[in-house]
Symmetry: C2
Subunit: 300 residues, 2 copies
């Protein structure tokens, strides 16, 4: 079924232990949509770029199965981010130029208002709410957020949480959101805000899925080499939601598989800069690692 | 089969968010042996205490199935450690008094030289080697170490590694030991030093078992409340080795189960100060959580 992904589209410049790249395709909506399109054949992206955005990137996205119909070309420059990694996992932001992304508050085209599955990237919760209101019959809505919005826009965030089914978050953010010292208490309180499912991202340590009365854990997929971790979290969310949309529904069985497949998608992503390695994989590559993950975690 | 555990015996004083305790039973050999004795009925401890060590503690250990025959009472005071936790996982050492532990270099009593399974706590690798040399027919030797010995006694440590089957370590330590930037490379190099199995302890994120050609991951067992994490790593090792000794051998099946059971033992431990909660549990409590762990990790 159809998956709509809303978030940032950026041109990233990255320096790390592997070298450096300039103005490569990035942003949460890009990473998530390429990741989702490995699993789901009806993925559309909503975002904004400037007139300087290379047309090849649009062709590239279309070629990889992402509907770009709702990428808006506005006057001005595309969102740019420049960062440096001094270790594998934590980037220092050297420069952020929001440019056209600063006033991003999209009107969803009418045919995309019928999308069944919605993934809202980490943007202003007021904008997330505006998008939710435009959707006509969503089967499932998932959203990402971060410390910045928890601190700056807690009221809008709490309102937004009432309308979603799945929240992507990390342990520091959930404690801040719930104002609780113990994670268990924070999870329970956050589940009372609205979402039925918390997907707690733990970086290299994998992911934990929390519901009112259950847990599910997946480790990170072990890799020999890490090239660039930019976008890893978004590739997780994209792979997760791409798989859920491909199944057309969610239940405990699909939820666990989605967590595994999101983790695998994220691992493919960090084996290159930008989305290069993700675009080279097929469904079979993912399923090969899915079988590996069974070996790495199953016991009796 | 018989399990011999060598390490520190201490009187700990701890301050944390839950309160404080003074001169409670602690030390790596204590935590590991109590943990192991939940699973294995032939556990002996080798350690040293001062004349001030309360006789009740000896009775307590014996009552809980730990053979205390090789706890040596030396002139002087028992090893004492005083620490404060400002968060749940990281203690600041306020005071360490090695006392009688400073010159710990035990002569293993003859009947214990026949022990089949050996767990060497985190002590000077020269002492670990001296102990290994005294063992007559060990089926399996496991050892713990830490940054301090990697920096101060690398030659003795590398020699010790030639004689063991399992190394308990964490990711920072393994990178330091192997002098490798990537964990994958560090694991491969460390496996070439001698041990067939690395058990990588990741605190709240659980444990990873690494062999030349395989991985196994277990998450931490999720808890509602954390009381005191002191000794958690030793309770993991003790539970792990107690289970292996109870099976009388190791293979991939037993290895995975041991990692799960070690993780569960560690979780019971952090639900109280000292070894209080561990001594209240039975084999059935462990197996209940073993079934939980299946639900938390199994998918298809």
């Amino acid at each position: 079924m159809s998956l709509l992904i809303v978030g940032s589209i950026a041109l990233d410049s990255i320096e790390n232990h592997q070298g450096s790249v300039n103005d490569v395709l990035g942003g949460s909506a890009i990473y998530a949509s390429i990741s989702a399109s490995r699993l789901c054949d009806d993925v559309a992206i909503v975002g904004v770029v400037g007139k300087d955005f290379p047309k090849e990137h649009i062709e590239f996205l279309e070629k990889h199965g992402v509907n770009t119909y709702a990428i808006f070309f506005n006057e001005g420059l595309t969102f740019r981010w420049r960062g440096r990694y001094n270790n594998l996992n934590q980037a220092i932001t050297l420069e952020t130029s929001l440019n056209v992304f600063e006033n991003f508050d999209p009107v969803i085209p009418e045919d995309l208002q019928d999308s069944s599955f919605i993934l809202l990237g980490n943007i202003d919760p007021e904008i997330q709410l505006n998008i939710i209101k435009q959707m006509k019959k969503p089967a499932l809505i998932a959203a990402d957020t971060m410390n910045y919005w928890i601190i700056k826009k807690i009221d809008a965030l709490l309102e937004m949480l009432k309308h979603i089914d799945i929240l992507f978050i990390n342990n520091e953010e959930i404690k801040l959101l719930a104002q609780k010292h113990y994670l268990y208490d924070a999870y329970q309180k956050a589940l009372n805000y609205g979402p039925d499912i918390l997907v707690v991202k733990k970086g290299e340590h994998g992911v934990m899925v929390v519901k009112k009365d259950s847990y599910f854990f997946t480790p990170g997929y072990p890799l020999e080499k890490v090239i660039d971790t930019t976008g890893a979290g978004d590739c997780f969310s994209g792979g997760f939601m791409g798989y859920v949309a491909s199944q057309g529904k969610i239940n405990d069985h699909i939820l666990k598989q989605a967590a595994i497949i999101g983790t695998i998608s994220s691992a493919f992503n960090i084996e290159s800069f930008s989305v290069d390695s993700l675009t080279k994989i097929t469904h079979d590559h993912i399923m090969k690692r899915f079988e590996d993950m069974k070996k790495y975690t199953q016991f009796d």
